[in-house]
């Protein structure tokens, strides 16, 4: 049964009691998450905690074992154009040029007749997005002829042209050198301000997460449930949820004392095995955050 936290117009992505089990192994114990439209959510967590699993569930590539998962007002079944995705690798089709990669979505979603009649519209639209990511003169190149940073720009354009309800990004900058990475961080922030789109950005880099996001979510298997105060193997849940604000940031932000403290705080709450919180005390401070617990989980029984 769904609780009454869900607000259809407001929440573009909504998960309640989402559990994912592989055989005997619980990967996601109980994910509760409501994301408002236009939010830039960054998700962090220790490696192997289930970040990628949660992303695959949101994509519809895999199905949750139980629980509710809603995108844009409808339950998730299979991957479709309501979500765009940018991976660290393999986002682009190697046999297509930059231009063909970007116009692929508009072509797929038109029938052959409309594809023919509206070919000029599609072409202009594709060039507009290629222009937006600053690769106009590379439009006729193949992905293998581009640098890693340029490839990710194309991948972003390719996803954005579909105007997805949520743009999912799975460690998109993980393979880039630090300079290109910073450049693309600024680029993404600019794009987010311009388009007001909803982004769900998975990373293992805490600083990146705190810098980019308007909201930071940490998931982790380090917490206590019920009366049991012994650490034991269990699935991940949301353990940190912070409101980072939507204000304009500059690279200088990263050097401030406040920023450093935030990094330490999240590392302490989310990444440190020895320090585990009771589920009722978790720092879920974002206004949209909620947690569904039964009496046993609260430790009242």
């Amino acid at each position: 049964m769904m609780s009454d936290h869900y607000q259809q117009g407001k929440h573009v992505l909504y998960a309640e009691n989402v559990i994912k089990v592989y055989g005997a192994k619980i990967v996601l114990a109980d994910i509760d998450l409501a994301v408002s439209r236009g939010e830039f959510v960054t998700m962090v967590g220790p490696s192997g905690c289930g970040k990628s699993t949660l992303l695959r569930l949101i994509l519809g590539q895999e199905q949750q074992s139980s629980g509710t998962l809603i995108i844009d007002g409808e339950a998730i079944e299979h991957p479709d154009e309501r979500r765009g995705v940018v991976y660290q690798k393999y986002s682009l089709f190697p046999h297509l040029t930059v231009f063909d990669n970007v116009r692929l979505g508009p072509q797929f979603t038109r029938n052959p007749w409309r594809r023919f009649v509206e070919r000029k519209i599609v072409r202009d639209e594709a060039m507009k997005f290629i222009d937006k990511v600053g690769l106009t003169e590379h439009a006729s190149k193949f992905p293998a002829q581009l640098s890693g940073g340029q490839q990710q720009r194309v991948a972003i354009a390719q996803a954005l042209i579909m105007r997805p309800a949520v743009l999912l990004m799975d460690e998109p900058y993980g393979a880039l050198d630090p300079f290109t990475r910073e450049e693309l961080q600024e680029f993404l922030l600019q794009l987010w301000e311009e388009t007001k789109m909803t982004i769900f950005f998975v990373t293992h880099d805490l600083e990146e997460a705190l810098y980019l996001g308007s909201r930071l979510i940490g998931i982790s298997q380090f917490y206590f449930e019920g009366k049991d105060m012994k650490a034991r193997a269990r699935g991940a849940r949301v353990v940190v949820d912070l409101d980072l604000g939507r204000g304009r940031k500059t690279p200088a932000t990263k050097a401030t004392r406040e920023f450093g403290e935030s990094v330490r705080f999240v590392r302490h709450e989310c990444f440190t095995p020895g320090i585990s919180m009771r589920v009722i005390d978790l720092p879920l401070r974002h206004p949209d955050s909620f947690i569904t617990l039964d009496a046993e989980q609260r430790g009242e029984k």
Binding site: L59, Q61, H78, P79, D80, E81, R83, G84, V85, Y87, K89, Y90, S91, F93, P94, H95, L96, L104, G105, F108, T109, F142, P143, A144, Q145, Q158, A159, M162, P164
Partner: protein
């Protein structure tokens, strides 16, 4: 001394000229050795057939490739001779017959393998349904069922083409299936998020991406296709290059066998080369990926 040591070390990088000389060397050495033994034998017996001299081979080539089958029978005849009586130029007839079998067999094999490989690679139900059986069929040694093929398909063209198909298509299906399964899952999810349906994924994403690998595979499978063609022609045929070789063997006519073998090798080389050039021209992205 130092340069000699350098030459034989793993650090040596030969210039183009040296590369060409080194590549020609084994050819020249084997030709030289052959010529030495052939002329020694001919010194003892001028009619030796085992190691024919170039002159004998040229005579055979002239007879086989530039004369009609019965031209010698009618030599000196006063009467005008019709084209039918003269017969065909056997070299052309054999080459065309063999190439026809090879091209038809390999094409049918490659296209059916592409279909089966695609179905197995894309649809889980077909993978469970087809893969064990295709694997079983691919392990059956094709030449061991040659008698069955002759019994079922007769000894005409059909049997020869079927042997090529049976010999190559099951292995090719498995290879194509592997190529498709090697395409990252992300690519398919990505296409779905761009609004693609199953047909568009197969037609726009999978097939274009595996095409160069598919052609390369076809190129490689030409070698076993030749093997099966030669086996079929050797056993039951009225024409074809391998038929001619096995006919010449009866008369110990090495002077004909050696040129035909060299010709078959040349055809193989040209086919190989043309497919390579085609892949490079048609799929620049494949080369750009450095594969």
């Amino acid at each position: 001394m130092k340069r000699i040591r350098e030459f034989f070390s793993i650090h040596y990088s030969p210039s183009t000229a040296v590369k060409i000389v080194l590549a020609l060397l084994p050819f020249l050495i084997s030709a030289g050795v052959y010529y030495k033994f052939a002329s020694e034998r001919h010194a003892i017996n001028p009619d030796d057939k085992l190691l024919p001299l170039p002159g004998q081979m040229l005579d055979e080539i002239k007879r086989y490739a530039f004369q009609r089958e019965n031209e010698e029978l009618f030599k000196g005849s006063e009467e005008p001779v019709s084209k039918e009586d003269l017969g065909d130029i056997l070299f052309l007839k054999d080459t065309l017959a063999s190439l026809k079998r090879l091209v038809i067999g390999t094409s049918i094999s490659a296209i059916s393998a592409l279909l089966v490989g695609l179905l197995m690679g894309m649809f889980p139900w077909f993978r469970s349904f087809g893969r064990p059986f295709v694997t079983f069929l691919s392990i059956v040694p094709p030449l061991s069922i040659l008698p069955i093929i002759f019994i079922v398909f007769g000894v005409e063209e059909m049997a020869k083409i079927m042997l090529i198909i049976i010999g190559t298509s099951f292995l090719m299906s498995r290879d194509i299936n592997l190529v498709i399964e090697a395409i990252p899952r992300e690519q398919i999810v990505k296409a779905l998020t761009l609004g693609a349906n199953s047909f568009q994924i197969i037609w726009k994403i999978i097939i274009p991406q595996i095409m160069p690998r598919f052609l390369e595979m076809t190129r490689i499978y030409l070698s076993p296709a030749w093997l099966f063609l030669i086996a079929a022609e050797a056993i039951a045929s009225q024409d074809g290059l391998a038929y001619r070789i096995f006919l010449a063997r009866r008369y110990m006519n090495m002077a004909q066998i050696i040129p035909i073998v060299l010709w078959i090798t040349f055809i193989g080389f040209i086919m190989n080369y043309l497919l390579k050039v085609f892949i490079r021209w048609r799929y620049p992205w494949y080369m750009a990926e450095g594969k």
